[in-house]
Amino acid sequence: MRHLRLGPVFVSLLTIFTASVYANQPPPQFIQFEPSATMGALYMPDPDKFPNPHVATLAMHRDSNFMSHISTQEMPKRGIVALGMNPRCQNNEALCTPWEHNSLDVKQGVELLRSLPGIDTVILIGHSGGGPTMAFYQAIAENGNQLCQAPERLTKCPDYIRDLPPADGVIFWDAHLGNGINAVRSLNPAVINDEEILNQGAAPRLNPRLDPFNPENGYNGANTSYSDEFIESYLEAQSARMNKLIDIALDRREQVEAGTYSSKGDAAFIIPMADISRLMRIDRSIDHSTVNPHKLIKNNGSIEDCCKVESVRPFDIDPDGSEEFWEGTRMLSLKSFLSVRAIRSKNSMTDIDYCSSNNSTLCMVQFISVPVLVSAMTGHYFVRNSELIYDFTASKDKDFIAVEGATHGGNPCTACMPEGDAYDGRYDNAVKNDFDYLSQWINERF
């Protein structure tokens, strides 16, 4: 008898739950912002299921297309309005001159969302390079532009980046520490002739003792395990190369500003072998896990809160990529390099001057007071990055969660399997679990 009564209730609850999660969304609306390259797509929840949404999210990257970002698909299913935006340097990092201007695009998005009837709360979603984007925006919105004009910044923001309306919360979603930090960690430090390359167009010359793909240094494909000594030398050499590049760029920028350089306004700054050399992608013992115990959403939806969270990422680097133009080269200008891809350091992992760049999640989260959720994908290599963001965040209301077996894009990591094993569905619920947690975190607060 009890079963007969509970059965329909269970079915009804299941129906309601399923209907909520899989409600039909209206088609996304294209939104044109200023300037022309700045644009967005607005996704509304099904009005039959969610007639009065009051929370909106805004996702934007630096140069990637976020107009069909996974959050724009998943948030409306859960009753939250989602705006995916692309900034003025979409599809072209060299046009980030400076990157700080992207905050003017975020501003337009926040203002648009606040103008929608019923919307009283706007949450920023900083995914990957959206992390520094949204941290910068919120920090300047809360503290004013003196923060981005501090003397130690390699690029200072212009005065017209002011009066940014703050958001009500920020979700860092597998964000990284900043594009400059990514750049220093991705540099191939074996290159020894950057002056020749940039001044005379020479081909790169390499110090084999710093070549990450040299077996004598410990390289062994997916089974690579470098010595502590090599790792230390490598990370310090990455910093030394980055500092050298910064010095060259600063000197040229001075000449440009003095009118003594060969081109006016800016100049090309093209760095070979500047990517595909991030040691943690080769030796997965580096940044393998969080330092402290943290919450982990398991595939079955339960949350484990006892232990350090480990990354299950695969070996994902092609040794040839570093030498290829499109994979390994950064095609920038002086201004975009100094604004987006430059940061001062002495050791690319442990001794970084985080506030030498505005493009620095770790610098900026120290100035954010609104609620922050940091979410890390364990099928990628930003788990420890996320923990650092969480640790540095000043907000009193902050939370950290890792999603078991999700890729950087949030989907199940089918490559995250023990060597030789085929994917067995063990991470199939990653997307649902993640966005259920995100929407619950939002709904509990706003």
């Binding site: 990637s64 005379q200 100049a267």
Partner: protein, 445 residues
């Protein structure tokens, strides 16, 4: 009584016209294509006014954003569906590797539009750099990939471009001859050391006798320049020589890549200083000042004059700074994007261009198109003669050419075209233009 009836009919006609032009189009729908950078926005007519549209138009450029182009609202207001698309190298010409692959994005747009219930016709809109884009697409769709793999092409298209579905017509709006031809005519030919620049990162060195901004050569910093015939002839030949030199350097490097002897195995940066901002016709308005033959001219009052040679009313639009500044004067490309997008062979930048040495060539491509084409030129810009050239080259039996009075490249009224202050003389340019385009389409499809 009869007069009142006529008056009533006129009022009703006006009302209908007003309703049509002021129709409320639904919000544009964002469409994600593949790969991620390829995207579109679909604008539909007001369903209350146009319940059953059967014609869709598709607008795409090479790098510029077409998702909110002026044609979107204007075509939708006249009863057409319109899809604005951005291709893979949107906002970044260096990513056109090769440019020919943008055709795969146009293809997705056409296939998408043909799936929309009721749509039976798809018309391509090629504005400016959309001209070579759409002419290339249609020519390959009608003739197959053999056309874009001919031996003389600097870049040959891939076999992936087989089986493109053809469109039903093409409207060219102030299109140009091609991005290679534009690049050729915009090069500063005074640069004499491209090998040094490309090989050793040297700064450019100049021959002052070829400097377009040198008053000794005819440059007037305060107004319209008047170059001598001798200077122009030397200049245009020097532009071709510089372009050919750049092509030789790029091809040499690409051959090294193919033989495995280059420093990179796939591509390389190809940054050309003083590669833009030196188009002589922007300084000396006598160059390409008018059509060669009498052409139809759509005047501001909506009438069409069809008697005379049509002159451009464009203003001077170039300063030395635009050539010297990095972001306006430099082409930041790669070997592959340069050879595919910005390279063309010639011996004279104006009169002796090997149009079919590049796939990015409206003049070459329109010779292989059979569907109806409408070619429109803006009277306030410098592509008037360009449009006439590819009108003459177009193979379509059904082809039309019209010049819009006093419109800028983007169709709006050219206020700077009126010395002494704009007086409203071109205010109807947008309405006149889209009324004409809509009529041309509706008469045929």
């Amino acid at each position: 009584m009869k007069f009142q009836l006529i008056k009533l009919i006129l009022v009703l006609v006006n009302l209908l016209l007003f309703v049509n032009l002021k129709a409320d189009t639904p919000p544009p729908e964002f469409i994600q294509f593949s790969p991620s950078a390829a995207m579109g926005a679909l604008y539909r007519p007001d369903p209350d006014v146009y319940p059953s549209p059967h014609i869709a138009t598709l607008n795409m450029h090479r790098t510029a954003n077409r998702l909110s182009h002026i044609s979107m609202r204007n075509m939708a207001q006249r009863g057409f569906l319109i899809l604005g698309m951005n291709p893979v190298c949107h906002n970044n010409e260096a990513l056109c590797t090769p440019w020919e692959n943008n055709a795969l994005v146009v293809k997705q747009g056409i296939e998408y539009l043909r799936t929309i219930p009721g749509i039976t016709k798809v018309i391509l809109l090629g504005g400016s750099g959309g001209g070579p884009t759409m002419s290339f697409y249609q020519a390959v769709a009608e003739n197959g990939v053999a056309f874009c793999q001919q031996t003389q092409k600097l870049t040959k298209c891939s076999d992936q471009l087989a089986d493109l579905p053809a469109a039903d017509g093409v409207v060219f709006r102030d299109a140009h001859l091609g991005n290679g031809a534009n690049a050729l005519r915009s090069l500063n030919p005074a640069v004499i050391n491209d090998e040094e620049i490309m090989n050793d990162n040297a700064p450019p060195r100049f021959d002052p006798r070829l400097d377009p901004f040198n008053p000794d050569n005819g440059y007037n910093p305060d107004g319209v320049s008047d170059y001598s015939d001798d200077f122009k002839e030397t200049y245009f030949r020097a532009q071709s020589e510089r372009m050919n030199r750049l092509i030789d350097i790029a091809e040499g490097r690409l051959q090294q890549i193919q033989s495995g002897t280059y420093k990179y195995p796939d591509d390389d940066a190809f940054v050309i200083p003083n590669g833009d901002g030196s188009r002589l016709m922007r300084l000396d308005l006598n160059i390409d000042h008018s059509t060669l033959k009498p052409r139809k001219f759509l005047k501001n009052d909506g009438t069409i004059e069809d008697c005379c040679i049509v002159s451009s009313v464009r203003p001077v639009s170039l300063t030395p700074q635009s050539n010297q500044r990095f972001w306006s004067g430099t082409r930041m490309l790669t070997l592959r994007s340069f050879l595919s997008t910005r390279a063309i062979r010639s011996t004279h930048a104006m009169t002796e261009i090997n149009y079919c040495s590049s796939n990015n060539s409206t003049v070459c491509n329109v010779q292989k198109i059979s569907v109806p084409v409408l070619i429109t030129a803006m009277g306030g810009h410098y592509f008037l003669r360009n449009s006439e050239i590819f009108y003459e080259a177009a193979a379509s039996k059904d082809k039309d050419f019209i010049v819009l009075e006093g419109a800028v490249h983007g169709i709006t009224p050219c206020e700077a075209c009126v010395p002494g202050g704009y007086d409203g003389r071109y205010d109807n340019s947008v309405k006149n233009y889209y009324d004409y385009v809509a009529k041309w389409i509706n008469e045929r499809f």
